[in-house]
């Protein structure tokens, strides 16, 4: 048996190790995280400007897209990285006190810190350019980001354990994640969507998290459908499910 202290040691050690290997040997790796997001936001901003779409009043296009795209990528990247946590760190499971769950937690924390950094940099840059923003509730924004991260980690834990049993899963799931993007309201306010679309998208917990981020950032943003408890429910169910299969996966893992 091991204590909470050992687990903290382990998670911290894996976390430090991951920061060095997150982008391979590339020293400029973290720059890539910023560039990737910047390119995506720029691309959609250009696209929407050309096609003359207007953002809700009082919001700049860039700020609006940032609050949608960065939380989504926080979710997606956390899920993807957690999913492959065991596969790419199998050697570490040789140390008896390292468990699959520790690898998943370490990766989730690293992604959260990375994307919070991206978010802060973009919003900070924008504030310099457009003047200081009027923030409705920073706490609400952080809650949304936290929920997006939690969703990614819990879904990632489930996927990670499943891919121990069926390795092909790991190759198929990224396309599912890509599809979720179009049902996450990352590019549109949920309340402006047509009724049928609205009813479908509101089932997606990621959309709730994104709406929370936005309603925290923009004063008067209408996000009355966003429900933190709904997202929390998803996280709890996924975690419970994920932890149960992690226990089975631990037995199944063969170390050679």
């Amino acid at each position: 048996m091991r204590g909470a202290l050992t687990q903290m040691h382990v998670v911290f050690a894996v976390l430090l190790r991951e920061t060095k290997t997150r982008f391979g040997d590339n020293q400029l790796g973290y720059l890539w995280a910023f560039l990737e997001q910047g390119l995506m936001i720029g691309m959609f901003a250009g696209f929407f400007t050309v096609f003359g779409r207007v953002t809700p009043p009082g919001m700049s296009m860039i700020a609006f897209l940032t609050t949608g795209i960065v939380p989504f990528w926080l979710f997606r990247s956390t899920c993807g990285r957690c999913m492959s946590a065991v596969e790419s760190n199998k050697g570490l499971l040789f140390y008896p006190q390292v468990r699959p769950l520790d690898l998943v937690i370490a990766r989730a924390v690293l992604e959260a810190v990375t994307y919070l950094g991206v978010m802060a940099l973009f919003m900070g840059g924008l504030a310099l350019y457009e003047g200081p923003p009027h923030i409705e509730s920073l706490l609400r924004t952080f809650m949304g980001l936290g929920l997006a991260s939690g969703l990614g980690a819990s879904l990632g834990l489930v996927c990670c354990s499943i891919s121990v049993f069926t390795p092909t899963f790991e190759r198929l799931f990224p396309s599912v994640l890509r599809m979720i993007f179009w049902f996450s309201a990352a590019l549109h306010p949920v309340e402006t969507l047509p009724k049928t679309m609205h009813d479908i998208i509101i089932l997606n917990p990621v959309a709730h998290a994104i709406e929370l981020v936005r309603s925290g950032w923009f004063p008067g943003y209408d996000a009355h459908s966003a429900e933190p408890l709904y997202v929390l429910g998803w996280i709890l169910v996924l975690s419970f499910f994920g932890l149960s299969i992690e226990r089975m996966a631990r037995r199944r893992l063969e170390l050679t």
């Binding site: 202290l5 050992t6 040691h9 382990v10 911290f12 050690a13 894996v14 430090l16 190790r17 060095k20 290997t21 391979g24 040997d25 760190n89 199998k90 050697g91 570490l92 499971l93 040789f94 140390y95 008896p96 006190q97 390292v98 631990r250 037995r251 063969e254 170390l255 050679t256």
Partner: protein, 215 residues
């Protein structure tokens, strides 16, 4: 110090279930260097991983009465893109040991020279094994679990390992699994043979040797 109760482990193969460890119960004598002999594929590495707690048995229990090492002598456990030093830091962290002490000891013990600061993937297998040995010796375990020590380094390095084990024999002991009688003879006071999933324990290394050679 280490106690095994009814340990069973089977692997699924195409021709059905292959029982590698068959209801093994055994209490390792405290502070005694112990050898486990087994032919290739007899399940000795699996047994060592179960003893370490790295792998879980299908049924049965392991009880540890002290700090037990991970299975030493494998090349896994290191991240190839990190340097030997960075890998040392990792191990020190997960065992809550003093990082500088572990790094210093390993650098001295493993004799990797400049390679200590290079990515582990540039190492030869001998260098990896030396690193693995160095790090494990840097941490004060009560029982060191060693897998095939014969594969590690040249005669000089082996002498060094043996001296290191002897130097701490008042506090620590070793459990070695090997397919070679000579290894066990060099290190161990008592010995068992693993065959058909059962552990046959002998009072003397010589008795085990006879039995092992006969099969």
């Amino acid at each position: 110090m280490i106690e095994l109760t009814e340990i069973t482990k089977a692997y699924q193969t195409r021709s059905g279930s292959n029982v590698v460890l068959d209801r093994i119960s055994f209490s390792f004598p405290p502070r005694t260097n112990f050898g486990i002999l087994g032919k290739n594929g007899s399940g000795k590495s699996t047994l060592l991983r179960v003893i370490a707690g790295t792998e879980q048995p299908d049924s049965g229990q392991v009880h540890w009465g002290g700090l037990v090492s991970w299975p030493i002598g494998f090349s896994g456990g290191f991240n190839g893109s990190l340097s030997g030093e960075e890998n040392c830091r990792f191990v020190a962290r997960i065992y809550g040991a003093d990082i500088d002490e572990v790094v210093g000891f390993t650098m001295e013990f493993a004799e990797l020279g400049e390679y200590f600061h290079m990515p582990v993937r540039t190492y030869s297998s001998g260098m990896r094994a030396r690193l693995a040995f160095g790090v494990s010796m840097a941490i004060q375990f009560d029982v060191y679990l060693v897998d095939e020590v014969t594969a590690v380094g040249d005669a000089n390095f082996q002498r060094k390992c043996r001296n290191a084990f002897e130097a701490r024999s008042d506090r620590s002991s070793v459990i070695i699994v090997s397919h070679q009688m000579t290894t066990v003879r060099n290190y161990c006071e008592r010995c068992a043979v693993l065959r058909h999933g059962k552990l046959l324990v002998f009072d003397s290394v010589e008795a085990a040797s006879k039995e092992y050679d006969a099969a």
